[in-house]
Symmetry: C2
DNA sequence: CACACTTTGTGCGTCGGTTCACAAAGGGAT
DNA sequence: ATCCCTTTGTGAACCGACGCACAAAGTGTG
């Protein structure tokens, strides 16, 4: 099932996919500074990873490097972009225009990577109709219509926890298969749908765990049973 | 994100630590609904994981279940909270009060888990002095003083990318060893410092990759899961 | 051309994490 | 007390990811 001669093997490991955006960011910075070629070592340092890992990651896309020289920055940017699907334009809808939704709508990092916020949707009549980041906030009743009319393929959920599953069900029903979930709930979706979750409070809790370890040290080990 | 094994981890795997907050959230929901005991199967479903994994995770904390019965919800909440260090109060400083920083300051999920936003800090004179979420925004010049005065042990970086490393160096210099970074840069810190990063644009890029693969056709559907 | 030097691409040992499957342990009924 | 039923806790196989270390492949120089 995995042929070594196949130049663009689609069996790219998930761990690799998660790092490609990192490499892309580093490469963009280098391109801006006029760097034409880069070695795996330098790129690895810029991306904060091991150089062997970086080379193995890139080898999954094909043999785009030159031994003795390194990688052509422009070319690599193009190859990674294409692999990630960033050469096309992705229409994103943000559902839930609270503090977080607003921040996301204004976040520059999206547009600069081929993502276009195509719709803002909320249930609160107080917010509906407002202009945020140059977009008109639409009512949740229009959810399905807006998604289909604007060709939205990725939905960002920034609703309260209680509303998330219901909205999720509706967007899945109209064919959306990629969801970025900021609501602190476990969404239940069909296997065919990709959900990535970002939970700010969970990240802090993980930090707290390690911080406690550092601060408490051996003292805690005694207290535990 | 780096996750070096800490010397005093009492042997709890990093992957387990990352899931404990998930279990905790599910358990809180159950406690609210008056559920006294729960089986690993039910809790696993609520947290969206495999039940064997859940049992193994919990077994790292100790033997807190009763065979034939399940786990006592209240007791488990307490044990996990203690393990994560949530029984104490953590003072958090948010540096960078743009759209994202503002959203974080108002985010309810923090306070409800033992985290207290103790300071908001920004460089923009336009913002300094404003009241946000009941807090006065302070100037970046006061960074070190504020951190020490308020006993801040976790810093959230929500600054522009260009400023992040400099702020990071300063907070590390005053002894902060836990950082949650929202800026799209790879922070360079001593090994003793924990950095967790959240990059919204990277999450979208990963979704785009899978979305593209789904749209690609039946050839890829074979290898997709 | 031959040789020295650089850097990629990868085989392979290792390790952490996931999952299965089951023995051990507890509760309840008779 | 004994038997049956439920559910935990874990041994062990499996799987993917990581990183070392090196052969292969390219550049440059004399």
């Amino acid at each position: 099932m995995k042929s070594p001669s196949h130049p663009r093997d689609r069996g790219i490991p998930e761990a690799t996919v998660a790092r490609l955006p990192l490499y892309l960011r580093a490469l963009h910075g280098m391109a801006e500074r006029g760097i034409a070629t880069v070695s795996s070592e330098d790129l690895a340092v810029a991306a904060g990873v091991n150089s062997a890992k970086l080379r193995k990651d890139l080898s999954h896309l094909g043999s785009y490097g030159t031994r003795g020289v390194g990688y052509d920055v422009e070319y690599l940017v193009y190859q990674i972009s294409r692999e990630l699907g960033l050469t096309q334009d992705w229409a994103v809808a943000i559902v839930g225009v609270g503090n977080l939704g607003r921040a996301l709508a204004n976040y520059g990092g999206f547009v600069s990577r081929g993502f276009r916020v195509a719709a803002l949707i909320d249930a609160d009549p107080e917010v509906v109709g407002d202009d945020i980041a140059g977009l008109n906030v639409e009512h949740i009743d229009e959810l399905e219509a807006v998604i289909q009319r604007r060709g939205v393929s990725i939905v960002v959920l920034a609703t309260p926890a209680a509303a998330a599953q219901k909205v999720c069900d509706r967007v899945v029903a109209v064919g959306v298969t990629s969801i970025l979930n900021f609501a602190p709930v476990v969404l239940s979706v069909p296997d065919s749908v990709d959900v990535r979750k970002v939970d700010l409070s969970i990240e802090l809790q993980i930090l707290a765990f390690h911080e406690q370890r550092k601060a408490g040290g051996p003292l805690m080990a005694v207290e535990s049973q």
